[in-house]
């Protein structure tokens, strides 16, 4: 059926895969009608998809350095776009973002703008130039451009802090989904998630991660879009929700006016389980100051352009030109999901609060809501809670609480879709979290094995030894991440936002100025990375421990402080120390034109 090279057959391979997955969904739907239990369907979905990823990971095993670190630099534009989209869209995007928008409205929609706008910076400032450089990792670029082990080592530190913060959140998400779908305790589910992540990446490195990520993108986008379109038609809101929900958005505003936002007393709120929230902000109106919105968006954009696991995806394209185009495709595939998240939040909210809809619960009696099946299920999972604060026997808007994850995970069930859709959504969430965790764990272990072990400790190491070290580190980092994830220190969305701020504090200006400012030198870059990271972290700790902060910069936007310090210190230190030598200046010139050999190949 399939002849010739794998790369030439990609559309066919993934076409068959997508068809197979759709057939699997239909089979599950038939099985559900035939009486298969909801629990078994959930297990089938998660187990089947994870096994497929593991199979792809095994088939992509490799013993070559180039394949392990950069997938042999032959990933075609569109497929790299899909892989980047999966790499990028984490458990937070998939399960938590629609929830954030549901609760906070406009203020959180800054994340949508920030997490897409950042790609303009990636395409125009960095990706093509780093591709021309021909490095294996982001610290590889810093270390070679600026020269010296200290610069390389500092870059590894920033990378590790940012990526590790991020990866614990992703392993936490895989654990949450695995524990719900497979019905096992969270402490064990975290390690099940970890095992699946390692199966995808250990044998084949970047090559395996690339091809599993494409497969994971296909699963996650089907799992996100299908319910949105289905619920929209079912509610009679229109068959294409993105263009047709204006009336529903207006209806929510009308209902909000009618119910009002009643403030609960602190004593009442103390009875609500931790992590659940009520609707306290208007859905579509502008409820945040311009600065609050813009500062969050700016942090997410600069963070996007500095996160190494995204940047290293563009090292895998065949050329500079394809790297640039590939960024466009990445953003297109991300756009498909991101433009749907606010639609899902709208549909979810309307179906819960509109008393004229059969699914609406506001205005019903407390006893009536408590007897609803889905309420009981999600209440048991600690994701939903109601309480009759004012004692009138009727559920009010301020008496209904939900976890952020429930917006994505529970809405299909609330809207009365068959359980097969809930199983599909669980598989999608798993795919989203796994694909990001894979990319992150690989980014950290590649930096440690390539930049610390090979470049600094043992430059004479043979290929086989380098790859063994890389794999051992991969497993160790995975375990460390899972162990911390099991402690559940910070929520998923919160840790992800922190990771962006860390990356922005330490890496944004050293990366950008490395290409765009020839005068930037090693002492400047080291000062920029370390002082940026330290000041950002210090600000975070100060605000977390009760500090008042300044300029309205919160613990979610501390990257502004870090990157400002980073920029100033980098420019000042660069200018008071000697200019880079002629060879380095020549290197920067070579990076700026696409033709010719990669900079590293010339050396």
């Amino acid at each position: 059926m399939i002849k010739g090279k794998f790369i030439d057959n990609l559309p066919k391979v993934y076409g068959i895969y997508t068809g197979g997955f759709l057939v699997f969904i239909i089979l599950m739907a038939i099985a559900e009608q035939a009486g298969m239990s909801a629990k078994l369907i959930g297990i089938c979905f998660v187990a089947f998809t994870v096994l497929i990823y593991a199979l792809i990971g095994w088939l992509s095993r490799t013993l070559q350095v180039d394949a392990y670190y950069v997938a042999g630099r032959q990933v075609p534009t569109v497929f790299n776009g899909m892989a980047t989209a999966a790499d990028w869209m984490s458990g937070a995007s998939f399960v938590a973002m629609a929830g954030g928008i549901y609760f906070k409205g406009y203020g959180y929609m800054a994340l949508l703008v920030g997490w897409t706008g950042g790609y303009v910076l990636v395409a125009s400032l960095l990706a093509p130039y780093l591709r021309k450089f021909g490095c294996y990792t982001v610290p590889d670029f810093i270390g070679t451009r600026y020269g010296g082990n200290l610069a390389r080592f500092s870059a590894v530190i920033v990378l590790t802090v940012a990526s590790f913060t991020y990866v614990t959140a992703q392993i936490n998400a895989t654990g949450t989904i695995a524990s719900v779908a497979l019905d096992i305790p969270f402490g064990i589910a975290v390690y099940v998630g970890l095992a699946s992540i390692l199966m995808c990446s250990m044998l084949g490195g970047m090559r395996a991660v690339t091809w599993t990520q494409v497969a994971q993108y296909i699963v996650l986008i089907i799992a996100y879009l299908l319910p949105v379109f289905w619920i929209s038609s079912k509610l009679g809101a229109g068959f294409f929700p993105h263009f047709m929900l204006a009336d529903e958005v207006a209806r929510i505003a009308e209902l909000e006016g009618q119910f009002g936002f009643v403030k609960n007393s602190a004593a009442d709120l103390a009875t609500v389980p931790k992590g659940l929230a009520g609707i306290t902000k208007a859905h579509s109106s502008v409820n945040a100051t311009p600065w609050a919105f813009i500062s969050l968006a700016v942090c997410m954009m600069a963070g996007t352009a500095s996160l190494p696991h995204v940047m290293m995806r563009y090292f895998t394209t065949p050329s500079v030109r394809t790297a640039r185009r590939s960024v466009g495709w990445s953003l297109f595939f991300i756009f498909l999901l991101y433009s749907s998240a606010p639609m899902l939040a709208t549909l979810s909210k309307l179906s819960l609060i509109d008393p004229t809809l059969p699914t609406g619960i506001i205005g019903k009696t407390i006893a009536e809501v408590q007897s609803i099946d889905w309420y009981q299920n999600w209440n048991q999972a600690n994701l939903m809670f109601i309480s009759d604060f004012n004692g009138n026997g009727t559920l009010e808007l301020n008496e209904f609480f939900m976890g952020g994850k429930a917006v994505v995970l529970a809405t299909p069930e609330i809207a009365g879709l068959p359980y097969v859709i809930s199983g599909l959504v669980a598989a999608g969430g798993m795919a989203a979290a796994m694909s990001t965790a894979d990319g992150l764990v690989l980014a950290i272990s590649n930096a440690l094995s390539h930049d610390i072990y090979y470049k600094i400790i043992n430059p004479k190491a043979e290929t086989a030894k380098r790859l063994i070290v890389a794999r051992v580190l991969l497993v160790l980092i995975g375990f460390a991440g899972a162990t911390i994830a099991a402690l559940e220190i910070q929520g998923i969305l919160g840790s992800v936002i922190w990771a962006f701020d860390f990356a922005m504090s330490g890496l944004f200006f050293p990366l950008v100025l490395g290409v765009w400012w020839k005068r930037a030198n090693a002492p400047g870059a080291v000062a920029g990375m370390l002082l940026g990271l330290i000041s950002g972290t210090a600000y975070l700790i100060w605000v977390r421990s009760g500090g008042s902060g300044f300029l309205g910069i919160t613990q979610l936007t501390f990257g502004i402080v870090g990157s400002a310090v980073s920029l100033v210190s980098m420019v000042v230190v660069s200018l008071i120390t000697a200019a880079p030598d002629a060879a380095t200046q020549k290197m920067v010139d070579d990076v700026r034109i696409p033709s010719g050999k990669t900079v590293l190949a010339q050396k």
Partner: protein, 88 residues
Amino acid sequence: MSKQEQHWEKTRNLLFITLAIWFVFSIGIFLFGAEMQESSIRPFGYPLTYWFTCQGSLAIFVILIFWFAGRQEKIDDEFGFSEREGDQ
């Protein structure tokens, strides 16, 4: 001015234009979020600011990157700096 300097000047100008458009739709318009929300321009019936955060800005970024890539390729071709087979 050498060929390479000219190429870099054009590249830099393209960067400035791209970043200017990016700035308008990621930061500029949200300075006026409250005012735009009241506007009578309502794409697909959505309030204007709401629409930009949901779809408008996002879609503009996608188009912007492809436009940028096309323009940059033209600049590279003009100066003969495009990649050729076997470069890598």
